[in-house]
Symmetry: C2
Subunit: 342 residues, 2 copies
DNA sequence: CTGTTAGCGCATTCAA
DNA sequence: TTGAATGCGCTAACAG
């Protein structure tokens, strides 16, 4: 019945048989409980394990145990460089704890996201990190509050009311930081450019922060929502340009994706907006090489990922019921020529 | 002994008991073998499963089955945007086949890479995709040729002699494509800039292709290897500049990482090299937004990932012993102002 | 149409 | 010091 020796990997039973002891003893050996065996058996076990190249089957271990040491990650769009930084942070933290990562890309779809989460659950993950694609709050909340489900943490996006831990950028803080800078530079009209919020909290929070700022400070501006599907950005920008011919305008992009949308929109047409307008963005520090250097708010995604993983692991291990926490990490402003007044 | 009802998730036994049939029948239901049961039982099972919110435990399924429907991926550096595109491709292909991804970051270390591969093996993955960190050929070869190990495929980097499938960029083709372009543009001296090869085949192949090209075409140039740890690039570049004051120089970067190293090196010092030299790179198309637009060879990493996953899945499923294949995907040249002669 | 039985590989009582 | 027996949750003969 069993496969011909050579192919099939050795099991604990094979090792036991070869050594001439019971599986229990092998199991003990594997767990370092050397006190329960003679020095000779211990040595013989060592040798046989080496000869047979035996390695315990994690699947079987998981089936027995209550923990799998696997964390599931659902990421809205894995091809996004920002996401890959998040994953780097998660991975770094998890390696420290010898935890493996089952990663699933949601392809920016709430539906795929739900399926991925269910599927990860079936794989007995000890916890779940979710960078939601948006418009999925009901499901996420239900998931987090269902007794029996493993702990979950939201990544870069937040879920309110707080039904699980979450780590995200301090979006309002970032907006204020950038706006203060732009005011200091002497800009008169700032347009925050963003794709439709679609339930993505980071966008919503930034939009709110922006509106707050405009309402409470001596600077004018607006929030400009465009839709890449409609390709309406070029028109919106040229209208903006016409409406504010004499203002010192600055465009403030929601992220590098939008920054590129802006650059692309301004490439074609004879849109000369960027010749006179400032430009800045939420993003990573390598925007210093975009055009002549674009001022940006670095979010330190690696740290966000690390913090989120650490928080989740702590909750898994401590099993305590400390209150859920929403950790907001500050952004760092990097100034480059794009926000100098010309 | 068992946990208090509420917490523990329902098992197939719970469903069977609730319905009043055997586990076998439930198992059959789960696999769509409806012919083997009455319409009533079928309906009752459906209802009970819904009520209990029962979902089969994949870990138990895997333990029984010979396949896990999980593919392990070891990626040299997950924070690299190029890698994240590779992963996107892999993920896309795997979702089609309902295969999950256990992803591990090797942190650019051969040692971590080895540990990650062993660990993935223990998790009973059906196959392994390896984007090696380099300098690990012996282990990889041994791994691929060990009977009993699951099939493996190399990603973006190649292992020779061919002991497993592999998908990578057609590096030589790319170098030729770019060099032909540079010659046509009228450049007289082309320097291929690259970090130490360190057993990374893409770098080696490009270096070889570059040397071949220089030896066989009417254009001069060199391969310049720098070491970011020593921070020697600024010096190397200024020397280059002095040695070729009258030549029409072009720098050809190995990837976007190196491109940034070059830009950074030329930022400080009063290195005026870039004011007169051309610049191009292997990379993604968004280099069109770097500086005033950098000519690049797009490798289409998503396609590389997809192709690699497809190949591996085919090998897993067909179980056939077709000969191993090294698939080379072409690059696409995108021309931007950086390679115009000034 | 349905159930009984016997494992998958391992960890854990409990007993010796 | 050691081992036998049991079960994690599921599947698959084989037997009705």
């Amino acid at each position: 019945m069993r496969q011909p020796r050579a192919k099939r990997k050795a099991s604990i039973a094979d090792v036991a048989k070869a050594v001439g002891v019971s599986k229990t003893t092998i199991s003990r050996y594997l767990h370092g409980e050397y006190d329960y065996m003679s020095a000779q058996t211990r040595e013989r076990i060592r040798k046989v394990i080496e000869e047979l190249d035996y390695r315990p089957n994690r699947v079987a271990q998981i089936l027995k145990a209550t923990r799998s040491n696997i964390i599931g990650v659902v990421i809205a769009d894995i091809s996004n460089p920002f996401s890959s930084q998040l994953l780097k942070g998660i991975q770094t933290e998890c390696r420290k704890h010898d935890i493996q990562l089952l990663i699933s890309d949601a392809d920016n779809s709430a539906k795929v996201e739900r399926a991925a989460m269910e599927s990860l659950l079936d794989s007995q993950v000890d916890g779940l990190i979710v960078n939601t694609a948006g418009d999925n709050d009901d499901f996420l909340t239900a998931f987090a509050t269902t007794p029996g489900n493993p702990p979950m943490a939201t990544l870069d996006r937040t879920l309110l009311p707080l039904v699980c831990d979450g780590v995200a950028t301090d979006n309002a803080g970032g907006v204020n930081l950038m706006m203060d800078h732009l005011v200091a530079q002497g800009f008169e009209y700032v347009t925050f450019v963003v794709r439709p919020p679609s339930g993505i909290t980071s966008r919503l929070h930034r939009i709110n922060a922006m509106e707050d700022y405009l309402a409470t400070h001596a600077i004018d501006g607006e929030v400009l929502i465009y839709d890449p599907a409609k390709d309406d950005l070029p028109d919106l920008l040229s209208r903006l340009s016409h409406d504010h011919v004499d203002d010192r305008i600055c465009l403030f992009a929601n992220n590098e994706e939008t920054l590129q949308d802006i650059l692309r929109a301004c490439d074609r047409e004879e849109c000369r907006l960027l010749e006179r307008a400032g430009l800045c963005t939420f993003g990573s520090e390598n925007t210093r090489f975009t055009r002549s250097g674009i001022t940006c708010l670095d979010q330190n995604p690696v740290l966000i990922g690390r913090t989120c993983a650490a928080r989740l692991i702590d909750r898994i291990q401590s099993k305590s019921d400390k209150p859920f926490e929403l950790i907001k990490l500050p952004t760092e402003l990097h100034v480059y020529p794009s926000t100098e007044i010309r």
